[in-house]
Subunit: 256 residues, 2 copies
């Protein structure tokens, strides 16, 4: 039990989410916890920051080696205001989640949970986002807790390079059905929209965003989607250097 | 003059932004244009999608080979609703911008302009985001137009790989001071917040997000920040595969 370590926790489902409580349970043996989470659901907020309205935070609850704050901003705002205004010292680790719903493959782009972890790794703090492949607010996070504990322990032992976060997705199956933890690459694919068109009482059309994931490589066993479909936990290391190095030399030959 | 080509245009500063008008001017010789842009400012919205309220769009204006729509969503929502609901055929090219303000280095993470381009490249359409390093709504985009025209022409000639977008930043200097176009990698660095704390009439504290960019490698001549500081246009190829391949093998040795 290491109680000097400071761990910053956030999520995108908000301060009252069941997944946040499960993450706290998994992480609390590893240090003192500062929870700075959005005051309501922020799914789909990606790496958005709040610039049109000011941020506010409130001290929410104090527990045994745990302090809770809620913030009116996005998950990335939570990291920023925690680092600059709320915390008195730099955290040793940032964890985000447990997200209600998968953040594998292209979903990482829309995810506030993963954006918070990436923001952390950008400033040089080992950061991990955790997600369970079940959207329900009643999702069962029991199996996740042991897995998270293992991954946290290994991360503390090994450290993470500056600018690399981990994207951990956990399949929504019974604990004894999980086959193990698999290091993966991000699956190639995209979300194909199927907007749900409706008409309001004033005869105006409106559209609810809905869609399905198109997996461009369903048989690739080194991808996160394959791992999850086959009951493995997927771990993808995620960079904050967004340079497509494989295309850099070809692009130079364009002679722009 | 190729008028069969369909080019989808969006931005994050909104349908009335001066930068959007400049981009339209640069791009209109290359095809028919469908402009689907947010109905107001969406700076800092990153890859956010709208899930709490439904989307609406309205036909806004029809010009010579140009059709305008505004949408109540984010830049990424604009791409999604354009692709699925508004457009009758798949666009040949997606361009986003011209952003009022730089999207170099870590700013790419917060940028709605670049998120729209990345969303396009995810679905296999050559996509480019353009930004000028001047935040003012009155910024002068004159020099940008010729540069954009050159880059569009080369992109049409060469194509772009599925899953690679271009992040183009243009220095805010006179046309004759621009030294050329430089292919770069993303600068390592991050935004350090300096929240502006104020107190409202009810004695509640609130915080405006503000900060400065910390460049961790100011002398690296192959980075976008160096290029812009030295009056070059920077072009960074951006992947939608967010796997930190350089760390994959080390991570496997953790034996998770």
């Amino acid at each position: 039990m290491e109680k000097e370590r400071l761990i910053l926790i956030t999520n995108d489902d908000g301060i009252h989410a069941k997944g946040l409580k499960a993450l706290i349970k998994a992480v609390e043996p590893f240090g003192n916890l500062a929870i700075v989470a959005p005051d309501g659901p922020n799914s789909g907020m990606s790496h958005a920051i709040t610039v049109k309205v000011p941020l506010r935070y409130k001290f929410f609850q104090n527990g045994n080696s745990k302090t809770y704050y809620s913030c009116n901003g996005t998950p990335v705002d939570c990291i920023k205001i925690a680092m600059t205004v709320i915390l008195e010292k730099k955290p040793d680790l940032i964890v985000s989640g447990i997200n209600h719903g998968s953040n594998s493959a292209a979903s990482i782009f829309y995810s506030g949970t993963m954006a918070a972890a990436m923001e952390g790794s950008m400033i040089g703090i080992p950061s991990i986002g955790f997600s369970l492949t079940n959207h329900s607010h009643k999702a069962d996070f029991t199996a996740a807790i042991k897995i998270i504990s293992t991954i946290i322990e290994k991360t503390i032992q090994n450290g993470l390079p500056h600018g690399v976060a981990l994207n951990v997705n956990i399949p929504d199956v019974d604990k004894n059905k999980i086959k193990g933890i698999k290091i993966c690459r991000q699956t190639k694919g995209y979300w194909q929209e199927e907007f749900d068109k409706r008409t309001d009482p004033s005869r105006g059309d409106y559209y609810w965003l809905a869609g399905k994931f198109i997996n461009l490589e369903p048989d690739a066993q080194d991808t996160d989607e394959w791992a999850l479909k086959n009951n493995y936990v997927s771990v993808v290391p995620v960079p904050v250097d967004l340079t497509a190095y494989s295309f850099l030399n070809k692009l130079k030959k364009w002679n722009l």
